[in-house]
Symmetry: C2
Subunit: 366 residues, 2 copies
Amino acid sequence: MSQPPISFARGAPAPELVPAAELAECAYAVAQRDGARVFAYGPGGGYGPLREWIAGQHDVGPERVVLTVGGLQGFVFYAAEQLARTPGRVLVEAPTYDRPLKILGRDGAEVVALEMDEEGLDPDALDAELRSRSERPSFLYTIPTFQNPTGSTLSADRRRRLAELVRSRRLPVLEDDPYGLVRFEGDPLPSVFELEGGVDVMYSSSFSKTIAPGLRVGYAIVPAALASELEDLVASTYITPALLSQATVYEFLRRGLFEANLERVRGLLRARRDAMLEALDRELDGRARWNRPEGGYFLWLELPDGTDAAELLARATEGGVTFVPGVDFGGQPNSMRLAFSFVSPAEIDEGVRRLARLLAATPAAV
Amino acid sequence: MSQPPISFARGAPAPELVPAAELAECAYAVAQRDGARVFAYGPGGGYGPLREWIAGQHDVGPERVVLTVGGLQGFVFYAAEQLARTPGRVLVEAPTYDRPLKILGRDGAEVVALEMDEEGLDPDALDAELRSRSERPSFLYTIPTFQNPTGSTLSADRRRRLAELVRSRRLPVLEDDPYGLVRFEGDPLPSVFELEGGVDVMYSSSFSKTIAPGLRVGYAIVPAALASELEDLVASTYITPALLSQATVYEFLRRGLFEANLERVRGLLRARRDAMLEALDRELDGRARWNRPEGGYFLWLELPDGTDAAELLARATEGGVTFVPGVDFGGQPNSMRLAFSFVSPAEIDEGVRRLARLLAATPAAV
């Protein structure tokens, strides 16, 4: 094929999702108005007015808000701090976001992966794991809403049970929630952070999915007992994060552009999710299984047992479509992550057609 | 005293050194023109056009330029990578910049501090250290030009000898050079990186002192053998750095504003350095020793033996002036770092007067 492959691999927003012209105006306004602050060193926790705005949203003091260079940087800081405080195993979902797995590998942590089902992480399985060993784990990493990579969401009942368990066990948790606001339908669920009270749960999110990823504005609501040490760690890593993009995000919020943009983003992503589900229903009914996420960037597809998604990918690239095999996230060999965020509805339709064609050409599983 | 103390502690530029209005124009122009790229995920090494510009300055391929969130972040990445490759002791100058010392402590590294004299690091002392142990060190960290904290500069002859030694020993080196361009007088010296050829020397610098620190645009010229691994490490830390401020720096360069701004910055800092030297000559002649740096932000002052700078600081703060005691950088108890970068020439004059007054009230050393 001569055309570039259609990417179900890229977990990034399509260019039209990003409000570039409005951001340019915001950057200009805030740099003119607040240049002395924006272009100087500042606190390790980032641009003050944005910290205050986020603190208000989450009903905490601004000293508990740490703005990071994207959300992943928050994971890096938290993992370093938490592994130093409480060395031990790190509990993650199976499958989970691949970059944290790589970081934990670099940190030399023992990783214990907990199987999920359709409702997400199973609190009973977590409880059993905690009872199985006398040493406390260092922390639990969870993405309860529109998870990367599966798109699955922890049910309301399980959130309450998880919060209970965390509270009774004093289990440190990093709740990563970059996709929560990108909900197309259904009612929002309370975060584990809210249910637990934020004593042992650190909540992290970012503006990558709601405004623009290149701004690299992530944030964490840090447990009070961790806040000053985490800001110290930040200061002796990069002193101050890049303030201009944090100030630009603040200006975007201050002008009241956030809600309308979020509605626009939700609509554009919903159309993509719908296009993918329609094409899958049409092309792969009975030949694979997948979920129907109510938001986010991803869905999770399982091929018949014995079909190797990584092997399929090698041919798929030639066949004009790409995706990420589930094994990259610690998932089963027959699974794959399909991102509907980056390509257009028409490309999604065509991409699923290509995927179906490739699957049809795949020898039946032994 | 009711007025705030005059700060010889802050190693930051005075607000008037920062070209905030021009930066606002540059941010706007580049965000409008290049928004799709600036607000999207990009390479771990940063904004392409700026990488290419820096690569041209240093005569390397752009894949060897890694833009970081300020210069210190480059140290963090290099130390992590180098300590993983070649575990062992890290050689530093005594005294040296305090933040890297803190980072090395966090990394669990053994730190060996090499005494400096007026000409900087002594290559013979380095050679003797290398011969004294059979294990290779992990790396050497050096700030050869207008060093933080001492303001001292490695002589041309010693640079050549250091480069020779590095070449013959294949000693990994991080040459940190944030102040090199901020030279008020005298001829620029070649970097160790240039003299050695950039095989085992990583060169790092930033635009914090030449444009604005809050932009957080640092960069490293990475040895070819390290480039792809370092960019991998970056990508699994924050995926992409904040691109808007990197693009703003690029636009500032593209418009030809850099040289004129640098001249302006040099002039403002030269006036501050001169004010400090004049005041010291007038107020402290015979009662302390200090150097006369040809550039940078700092000078180094030594009190009579037995005088404790940390103890003086406690009283100095009340007395309306602050500085950083030398011990914070691994220096002697009677030494201190005086930054002339942040306050005005008039404040510098008054601050030195206050320092002299305090010193006069100090009991003679035992």
